[in-house]
Homo-oligomer: 515 residues x 2
């Protein structure tokens, strides 16, 4: 019917178009897999208007997953995640081997991976954290390749730069429509922000959205847009909302923690940055969360407001927003159900990707505008280096998270930890594993006082003037030795079981197998 | 101070990390231009926390714009745009030559480009449309390279695929903060959705946000996120909101247009797709807009709702949303002030990028789920090919827009045009320029009846059953000849002045210089 006006021959004479193709037909250049599977005579029936497939297995087949590929997951459901094991179990049944799992983090929900590493289905793990049995197995050297530990910003950088090429991303979504528009705020089981998943969706070769709540098109909001989704799978249960809140987000009545929280506030107010429009992130951990309470009391007293709060967002942050004490919450991960519900309800509770949150790979991340970050630590050494990944026994047990991202970029990074935990000192000569370099740690608040990095003479002067209980790192370390003595040195073998990347992709430390 | 734990030497023995770098320092791998310009001893002062530069000239210098580069602009302010000419005037003063301008479209605000083409500052134009003096000059062969005409979806595809590499995007924003978070809904002059700009921001090498309304950090919403912005420039006036509404978005009292609009509604209801949850896009043009009114009356009567409406969004669409007759508006361009205000106020009035709207380069665009699109035309030929770019005199005068994107993907594309305009017939033997291929055009509604593409026998049967006034293309053409006679053939030279790309990047037609 159509008269062809343009030929490739004719284009050879057009400046700038010498190598281009002439038009053939409306869908001639549309890849086959993006079209509907039909023999219909009606051209319009060839447009694919539904991405639902019958099962995870069918999605895996259509994605053509092969041995050695990289599959990715997010951990927004934390301990309540059901998807990762469902997918890996299915891949195991299908006989796929040597997979690399690139997860934003791994939790107690993923202990089943030990068996799949033993049987060869999985041979590489890349994650922010590992916990429980799986962490112990990794520390014992179960993996063929060393595990890779990245910060949240570091993972976004690695994915956007191509250091980590994801073949197929499996994204648990609280709800999705037939085209793949998905979010974590509508559905049977909500998880709140899909901040980590956004990065995978943008960069993975194939994207499979898995949900237990299929909604009418178009789903709202479009945290994961249809433009990035290949297939949609509906399952009975994608995750358990109750798993979001973990021990690490508990509140405290511990007098020691409250004392430290109060000191953190004093550090903040003495710094000169506690003024109208300041910004902050608090980590998880009792003392960090208590800080939010004290900050709220103080800003009410001073009649000022925060510009934004960042990070893993918790209920107390949502209170600040809803009571008008902060203009915007940037939420890359909702740390409790209050936050998960709020991100779907409050427009100024903004879901942001891990890239926006903290990546060094873009033109500036939200962490770059932080005035304060309050962080916890497993170990801090006399060079101010921080360990948040391995225990004092040398075994992997926790997560890198946004620790080094925020410490590196905030105007003032405040570490808070009790000087001793049981018979162990937090302040030691040399941390078991460096996650956050000491040069980026500005202040350490313990139950024994406030310790300032010698690189921050400006703060030392301000804190002296404010009468804060200053104690040097050397004094603090000596105090620890008096209280609990010298720890026994851990004996490591030479085998590297994990590599710890700094947020820029360089290797800041390795974790070796414990003897 | 820090003990270096890892060396490149050591990494050579770690599987998968043989070629990686050891950590050096917190900002060792951060590109220089992303850091603050400071000699401060305080490490934290080296984080760049402000992207504002003093002038457009300074931004241009920092972006290192050189002869032959590609700079891009959006046309959300339409005839009210002030930025493009400001930038090109500045570049001219700086002596830069042979620039390629990749604009989402060009309007009457850009007639000044003629002088800059004449003086060699600009030698290439890529755009959806060209109008007025500039269009005439292009048709007369003023450019060294042929102009490139793309659909909105085609432009997004070309940019995301790398066919068009943007060196520097200059993005007019109604408001921005010091880090570049920008939008079109807050500020002195709003323009609504920044749908086209989103694509440029994501893919351009450098991004300069220009605004007349600097707001406190963080700006909300973040239509353009800080992660994509290099520099922010504050100027007196970035655009005039009153320029958004152009002649093409006027309402009609013309009885002929109302008749056609009514016929379009009859086509929609007779198609079988006018059921609860259907979706539509209406273009601009009197009859198209009148359709929205009739659709509203009909869905009220039937007590059904639209799932979504798409496109350039107009006031009548906002009414549908606010009165609950449509679940979601996807807005890639706000066609009037009512729409521009609504996209900032109504959460279900969703700002979407031109990529989400219509690109063939992603995994599915919003156009893929359209049931109906109602479009206007300058010329339609007996093969149903449509011209929306050149006049009957062969001179460029309008824009490709989302015409071929929506016609190609909607279940039913409905073209509406009066059979004659003055002494000219809309229905002709061969359109002057093919923008939308006839195989994607399903129905043509004129004041003389309803004409169905013979490829859609399914619709012909349905419309017969509904008693619609069907008329074949041959009958329609014969009628036109009776009314206005045969048009005089336009005489073209062999010189190609513009290339028309189909949405997939193939060349569907060229426009030649008129003799």
């Amino acid at each position: 019917m159509q008269t062809k006006r343009i030929t490739n021959e004719l284009l050879k004479n057009i400046k700038g178009y010498e190598d281009r193709d002439a038009y053939v037909a409306p869908f001639a250049k549309q890849p086959a897999h993006k079209m509907a599977d039909t023999d219909s005579d009606n051209l319009k029936d060839h447009v694919r208007r539904d991405k639902i497939v019958a099962s995870l297995k069918e999605a895996i087949e259509k994605c053509e997953i092969k041995d050695g590929m990289t599959i990715s997951f997010h951990h927004h459901f934390r301990a309540g995640d059901k998807l990762l094991m469902m997918v890996v179990d299915t891949l195991a049944e299908m006989g796929i081997k040597n997979l690399r799992i690139a997860a934003s983090s791994l939790t107690s929900a993923h202990n089943g991976l030990v068996a799949h590493i033993e049987n060869g289905v999985v041979n590489r793990l890349e994650t922010s954290g590992v916990r429980g049995k799986l962490a112990t197995a990794v520390s014992e050297g179960i993996l063929e390749y060393p595990a890779v530990i990245r910060s949240h910003g570091g993972r976004a950088r690695a994915i956007s730069s191509g250091d980590v090429k994801i073949d197929v991303a499996f994204l648990a979504a609280s709800s999705a429509d037939c085209m793949g528009n998905a979010n974590g705020v509508v559905g049977k089981s909500i998880c709140g922000s899909l901040g980590y998943a956004k990065v995978d969706a943008q960069h993975a070769e194939k994207v499979v959205v898995v949900t237990d709540t299929l909604v009418a098109y178009p789903n709202f909001p479009q945290s994961i847009p249809q433009t990035q989704v290949d297939y949609v799978v509906v399952v009975d249960e994608v995750g358990d909302s109750n798993g979001i809140m973990s021990g690490a987000t508990r509140f405290t009545n511990n007098p020691k923690e409250l004392l430290m929280a109060k000191r953190v506030l004093n550090v903040m107010t003495a710094s000169g940055l506690f003024v109208d429009g300041f910004s902050m992130q608090t980590g998880t951990g009792g003392a960090s969360l208590a800080v939010t309470r004290f900050v709220k009391e103080e800003i009410k007293k001073r009649d000022i407001k925060l510009s934004y709060a960042l990070g893993g967002i918790t209920g107390p942050m949502v209170e600040l927003l809803e009571e008008g004490y902060v203009s915007t919450l940037f939420d890359t991960q909702s740390f409790d159900l209050t936050a998960a519900e709020s991100v779907g309800r409050n427009e100024r509770h903004v879901e942001v990707s891990a890239d926006f949150y903290a990546s060094i790979g873009n033109k500036s991340a939200a962490v770059n505008k932080l005035d304060f970050v309050i962080l916890s630590a497993l170990e801090i050494d006399t060079d101010f280096n921080v360990n948040v990944i391995s225990g004092s026994d040398g075994v992997i047990r926790a997560a890198s998270g946004g620790h080094s991202d925020t410490a590196g970029m905030a105007k003032i990074s405040i570490l808070t930890a009790p000087l001793t935990r049981g018979r162990l000192s937090t302040i030691i000569d040399k941390v078991t594993t460096v996650v956050t370099p000491g040069s980026t740690v500005d202040v350490v608040v313990t139950d024994y006082g406030v310790t300032v990095n010698p690189g921050r003479q400006d703060l030392i002067e301000k804190f002296k003037a404010a009468g804060l209980p200053l104690i040097t790192m050397e004094e603090l370390r000596a105090m620890a030795v008096r209280l609990v003595g010298q720890p026994k040195e851990i004996e490591f073998s030479d085998d590297v079981v994990a590599v710890v990347e700094y947020r820029d992709g360089s290797v800041i430390d390795t974790i070796r197998k414990v003897k």
